[in-house]
Amino acid sequence: MHCAVLQFPGSNCDNDALVALRSFQGITAKLVWHQETSLNGFDAIILPGGFSYGDYLRCGAIARFSPIMKALRQAADEGKLILGICNGFQILCEAGFLPGTLIRNRKLLFRCESVILRVEENETPFTNKCTPGQLLRLRIAHGEGCYTADEKTLKELEEYHQILFRYCDNQGELTTAANPNGSMENIAGICNRQRNIVGLMPHPERACEALLGGTDGRFVFESMLSSFAGKEN
């Protein structure tokens, strides 16, 4: 599976994503600068975390107009796998690839810590290696991660099983205390209806080495790899 890691001015988790991806047998990964206009030859595209364009206007608002975004739209329509992490999630929402948006954390704090996620759906290309209800421990690092959408959108997300991850406590309970940013319905990650585009605030690429505090992020990339292999065969 050939992965592109998009690089916007201000991306800062691009190299982390690259290193994490390259630790999987069967994945190759390459950085792609935002001025590029083609994603031909790639099977999956990662939008990494960071502060694209200094978060000016709103997080992700300006990256949306980068030349590479047209190619991303085409890749999305072709059914390629697209994963937006943190700022990448914000960009996907701003660009209309995913519904809703991410606003300032409810308590205004920049939260940099470990969180526990409950896997809500495992029939997606990004979670098929997880069991339903499985708990994953991942890191977050964001000031604007409070997922917000209108009532109709929230209802549709539920109806079409698009909520993949929710913040929970270590028993899997969706408590307010376990919600680090005030996200509606404890939402940490969602997908589109076609299930080939996912955005999440926590960083799976930072949880791919036992030495660095955990390997739960590997489930996400292994799922993508397995889904891709399934398509190939």
Partner: protein, 76 residues
């Protein structure tokens, strides 16, 4: 054409910065704060822009219709 765009969070959307500022006003010793909402004001000067183009800029770039409303004021 010169224009001023005011962008405000929609009434139903949580504005944590506004809430924190409301608390700060109380700490200043002034009670009775009913609401504080924080938005932004953007001045534009664009040669030959039509009103429709200005609205497009507001809609597609300056504001996010999921959480914000904008008001466009033509200055000259």
């Amino acid at each position: 054409m010169k224009a001023r765009v005011t962008i405000m969070p929609q009434a139903a959307v949580l504005d944590p910065a506004g809430v924190a500022t409301a608390q700060a006003i109380e700490h200043l010793g002034i009670n009775g704060v009913r609401s504080v909402r924080i938005g932004k004001s953007i001045d534009l000067d664009i040669e030959g822009a039509t009103q429709e183009q200005l609205h497009q800029i507001c809609r597609d770039l300056l504001s996010n219709p999921v959480i914000e409303d904008y008001h466009l004021e033509i200055l000259s």
